[in-house]
Symmetry: C2
Subunit: 258 residues, 2 copies
């Protein structure tokens, strides 16, 4: 099946090993790109999507829960809702503000401005025999993306945008979708209101969250099993430029769900 343009592909990279604190992610991702066969390993219309967990681990953004003494509020909430009081404590310590803390769900605003469940603190699948380790969000996910982009450009000579992604829930709907939490080399949202395309057709009258859709497409390829933390998304053609994930975050004065 072929179609002129209008084709986007997400390809999971094989061969990223278990990542540890201090590992050189740019090198590991470069190795995985090298290992993936093909006459042209990277194309200018590629975007590299790296999931949060390996970024946090490489950067040492992890906490051992055995070192955490939960405050009383965390213990009460955890006992009532069958959760780990130490993880609740870590989420509260990391939070700029608690948005909701009810029915076992803790939604906070992180220092970056993300509003998400557990402030992005994640206990799942951090590594074998590491039941007490949780990952925090990277301190500066744009900087994480920038460093990986620079490593790829240095090694392959191709400047491709990089997205750091994470799985967020949404109000009103079950399930998580992957969204961008850090970007380098692209603008995460595209304001198409009133613009015309080359044929004079009016473009969609919307602001498109391109980086989030690219993160979701990558997740589909990375699939249902851990161990594939990096994908290349080809052909999505986001708006290139020196954007920041902050561009995608709504200021408080526009927020109808504070």
């Amino acid at each position: 099946m072929s179609a002129e343009g209008g084709r986007v592909e997400a390809i999971a990279l094989d061969g990223i090993p278990e990542v540890g604190v201090g590992d050189d992610l740019g090198r590991l991702i470069g190795d995985a790109i090298d290992r993936t066969a093909g006459p042209l390993p990277l194309r200018p219309d590629d975007v590299v999507v790296v999931t949060q967990k390996i970024v946090s681990k490489a950067e040492g953004a992890i906490v051992d829960l055995t070192t955490i003494e939960p405050r009383r509020e965390a213990t009460v909430f955890a006992e009532r809702w069958d959760r780990d009081a130490r993880q609740i404590e870590v989420v509260l310590r990391e939070a700029r503000r608690v948005v909701r803390m009810d029915r076992g769900v803790l939604i906070t605003e992180t220092p970056h401005g993300f509003i998400c469940a557990n402030g992005g603190v994640d206990a799942s699948n951090v590594g074998p025999e590491s039941g007490s380790i949780v990952t925090l969000l990277p301190r500066d996910p744009d900087a994480s993306a920038r460093a990986i982009r620079a490593a790829i450009r240095g090694r392959f000579g191709t400047d491709v945008p990089v997205i750091v992604s994470d799985s967020f829930g949404r109000p009103w709907r079950w399930g998580i979708t992957d969204v961008a939490i850090g970007v380098s080399g692209l603008i995460p949202i595209e304001d198409l209101r009133g613009r015309e395309d080359a044929d004079g057709r009016v473009m969609k009258s919307t602001i498109r969250a391109s980086a989030d859709e690219i993160a979701s497409a990558a997740e589909l390829a990375l699939g249902k099993v851990d161990g594939r933390p990096v994908a290349v998304v080809r052909g999505a053609r986001p708006l290139l430029g020196e954007g920041s994930i902050a561009d995608a975050l709504m200021a408080r004065e526009f927020d109808l769900f504070p």
Copy 2:
């Protein structure tokens, strides 16, 4: 570039004409699949994603705003926030409940249970010289998906799931992403908690909103310009079955943002 599995492709179909009330969407989509070159037009791991607007138009889920007399509440809101009072009136008529009506933004719950801006009533790009026409959401988007799936199965002998998609905003982040509003032949969310894969690795401890991610991947291929309303997403391998979009909607008792 190749990778074992872990590859998902979204392909925009060319050649869907302007759709009008009463048009046979199944036939038009079948024609577009036929027209798209390739030895095997559809594969069992394909999902067909159809955007809401052509479904609504084919089903006659449209309103001519010149026939609408806005209530006082709609007029006051529209004047204050520079909006069309007749569109506000249509949104209020369609709503099961108003979730937020503030700062120019009207968020309602639709009869289907979707919570979204303007209740899915959409004035953009409905067709040439149709400035006063808005589309409503299809009355039963699962049924719309089911009819298209049956038409494709009847014509090609391949039973592929169908998603009807629409562009929704989210709290806290700018921009819209495409999500599923109707499904046939797949389960829209996948509960992977605690399951193991073939190698005994524990799968991600999450509920995955697969149908929404497939809709977003399709949107990336459909791109920035109207006129390409249907995509095939290949290789995403959602959970097959007779699901309903209602499976993806959170019941009120779990909703922290009423």
